[in-house]
């Protein structure tokens, strides 16, 4: 009986030591992973910042103006080119009402019962 207990205790001792070691090893791995992810996040943020700065440089009004003058035939907007909604003429009413062929087909076949609507029972 005592021998069995001894063996059991020694076995659990070895097992406990191995378990603790494994936990420590795993936690070290996770910490390293977290640090690596933090580093990756930082690098991504830096890359985003660099790209935003590059976009602003390309979107610079002076550069766009120079390119527009060189390649496009656009001219500056004059005040007479703006209109207000109040100045728009109202829509003219149609002499002949427009014919919609698809609506005509739909109305003609009268689909009161579709696949999902069952016909009323007893009617």
């Amino acid at each position: 009986m005592m021998r069995l207990l001894n063996i059991l205790v020694i076995a659990s001792l070895i097992f406990a030591a191995a378990f603790v070691y494994k936990i420590k090893f795993d936690s070290t791995l996770q910490i390293e992973r977290v640090a690596k992810l933090h580093g990756q996040i930082r690098r991504e943020r830096d890359a985003i910042a660099t790209l935003r700065a590059e976009w602003s440089r390309l979107d610079d009004p002076a550069r766009i103006q120079a390119l527009a003058e060189r390649h496009l035939t656009l001219k500056p907007v004059s005040p007479t080119q703006f209109g207000a909604f109040d100045n728009l003429p109202s829509r003219p009413s149609d002499a002949v009402p427009p014919v919609d062929p698809i609506a005509a087909i739909l109305n003609a076949s009268r689909p009161e019962f579709t696949g999902s609507i069952a016909p009323a029972v007893g009617r």
């Binding site: 406990a16 640090a35 660099t50 590059e54 009004p61």
Partner: protein, 584 residues
């Protein structure tokens, strides 16, 4: 027996305890050994159970230390917040760049290192580099902010004792378009001018000292600036400076209802990416750090003062038949009319005599108090750390009042004058200009009432009248109902006013019936041209420049073109009639 039972138990108890502990000479050896083993087993199992309990506790309770691990390779220079314009476009941002350092103690061969490095970085000073590499210090910078390509090449050289640290470099993607307002930073990313310096003063410097400002997770700074308007203004100022061969050109677009500075440009300026040019004294921000006699644009304030005090109405007339003599000085008009002039005529003809008589009607003390109320006699402090004190005459008598009435004798910063004139047209509220975004509610909260609303209405129509038939007709852009006032000031050279060195400026409000923006254009020493018929006054150079700027920026500022507005005369008659009806 009772007696023996009380004495014996004490002794027997002690003996029994000793027996139980197996402490004694007469206890069986094997029993003792067994008991000792059991004791040891119990002791260790207690210890292990404590460890197991702690393990369970650690597993159940989440770990509280979420402290971010800062890698030692991280930035040394402060990370600064981005600066954005009012539409969210980036004006200034940080970019990570590598910087080269050396640890001279770990260098094996300084000569080889020096040769290899100067091959890759040819602009390094050889003597200085040699000095640094042979010194016995632990850490020394070799070159800060090198390009990634250079970093790769130096890395491939494989010199021991050389390393890289990433630093934050401040880049201004728009170059010189926004220069004075943004300011510049030094190599350690500390602001030394402009809004950059203001950001430092807001607590970034304290954060940096505490070592907490190395990351880029800071809220960006929103400016009131509109980059497109700024570009249009600066572009036109550069063209005007070239066309009129002026020494300098400056302009500001001010939102009169909120005090926001939508655009501010002063040519010549610098590229904040090359801060070396910023030290040049000709490249100052003339709108905040220079003081000038603004000339006839000051008449706006004089007329507003006279109307507001009740000493004059739109129908009042003043004697402009002869030059006004004061001691040995005589005030002349630029285009003398030799008759009595009404207030609108004084404004549209820009009569110095009329303005002087209006100021004298108010009196010296009243004039001084009014200008102080309008913020023209004190230094204007904005977010920019640079500001200038106005030059106020020490002894202010009637002659000073007479000259200050038409803008000579008092030198103010142009932004100050713009603030005062904005107050005359926005309903009578003086609002301090700001470079940061400000909502109308915040502006109302800090606004100070300086004029009656009726005075403001009169001033708006006077400025519109001036644009229709006065000196500001060149700025009358069709469709935008512009109002304006020109100003031509003679500059002081060697103690005398010089007839050939002029400072011309122009104040435009748009739209004139309900002004939203004030535009100030200032040209320093514009030259007469054949197409201006030999004249160099403001109506010929600052006015047309303002017209070009307004044509470009009005669509950007959401100002609707209207072609059916009534003439200012008709509106003035109505308001003059109302004022005479009241006085009757």
């Amino acid at each position: 027996m009772a007696f023996s039972s009380t004495v014996k138990p004490a002794q027997a108890r002690w003996q029994r305890v000793m027996h139980a502990l197996l402490y004694g000479n007469d206890v069986d050896r094997t029993v003792k050994a067994k008991a000792r083993l059991i004791l040891v087993v119990v002791g260790f199992s207690i210890i292990y159970s404590v460890i197991a309990a702690r393990l369970v506790m650690f597993a159940v309770a989440s770990d509280g230390h979420g402290a971010r691990r800062t890698v030692s390779q991280d930035a040394v220079a402060t990370a600064r917040p981005d600066i954005l314009d009012r539409n969210g476009r980036i004006l200034a941002t940080d970019v990570k760049t590598p910087s080269l350092f050396a640890e001279p103690r770990k260098l094996i061969d300084p000569d080889e290192a020096e040769e290899l490095l100067t091959a890759v970085l040819p602009d390094l000073d050889r003597k200085e580099l040699r000095e640094r590499l042979t010194s016995r210090r632990g850490f020394v910078w070799l070159k800060r902010e090198i390009t990634p390509k250079q970093q790769q090449e130096i890395h491939r050289l494989g010199i021991p004792g050389i390393g890289f640290l990433t630093e934050n470099k401040r880049v201004y993607p728009n170059g010189p378009i926004v220069s004075h307002e943004l300011g510049i930073v030094n190599i350690d990313n500390q602001g030394i001018a402009g809004i950059e310096k203001w950001i430092d003063g807001q607590g970034l410097a304290a954060l940096h000292m505490a070592g907490l400002a190395t990351d880029r997770l800071q809220r960006p700074v929103d400016l009131a600036l509109d980059l497109r308007v700024q570009f249009a203004l600066r572009d036109e100022l550069a063209k005007a400076r070239e066309k009129f061969k002026a020494k300098a050109a400056a302009g500001v677009v001010l939102n009169v209802n909120t005090g926001e500075i939508t655009a501010l440009a002063s040519e010549p300026d610098y590229d904040p990416n090359n801060p070396r040019e910023a030290n040049d004294p000709t490249r100052i921000n003339r709108l905040t750090t220079g003081v000038y006699e603004m000339g006839s644009t000051f008449k706006v304030l004089t007329v507003a003062m006279a109307l507001d005090s009740g000493k004059a109405t739109l129908n009042s007339t003043f004697d402009a038949r002869q030059p006004l003599h004061y001691g040995r000085f005589a005030i002349h008009d630029y285009e003398p009319k030799h008759r009595f002039l009404s207030v609108p005529e004084i404004f549209t003809f820009s009569s110095n005599i009329g303005a002087a008589r209006m100021a004298l009607a108010v009196g010296v003390e009243g004039h001084k108090a009014f200008l102080k109320k309008m913020g023209q006699l004190d230094r204007l402090r904005t977010e920019l750390p640079e500001s200038a004190e106005p030059l106020v005459p020490k002894h202010w008598g009637e002659l000073n009042t007479v000259t200050i009435a038409f803008g000579h004798g008092l030198s103010v910063a142009p932004l100050q004058a713009a603030m005062g004139i904005a107050a005359t047209v926005n309903g009578g509220l003086l609002i301090k200009p700001t470079f940061l975004k400000r909502s109308p509610q915040e502006a109302q909260a800090i606004a100070k009432r300086v004029l009656k609303p009726e005075t403001s209405l009169d001033m708006r129509y006077l400025m519109r009248l001036n644009a229709e038939k006065g000196t500001a007709t060149f700025a009358n852009v069709k469709g935008y109902y512009v109002g304006g006032k020109t100003g031509t000031a003679e500059k002081v050279v060697n103690g005398h006013y010089s007839k050939h060195k002029l400072l011309t400026d122009f104040m435009a409000i748009l739209p004139a019936d309900k002004p939203r923006y004030l535009l100030l254009i200032m040209l320093d020493e514009p030259q007469p041209l054949p197409e201006t018929h030999g004249f160099a006054t403001a109506g010929w150079n600052a006015g047309p420049t303002a017209a070009k700027v307004i044509a470009r920026i009005a669509p950007l500022l959401d100002i609707e073109p209207r072609f059916d507005m009534p003439k200012a005369d008709q509106l003035l008659l109505v308001s003059a009639k109302e004022s005479t009806r009241e006085t009757r």
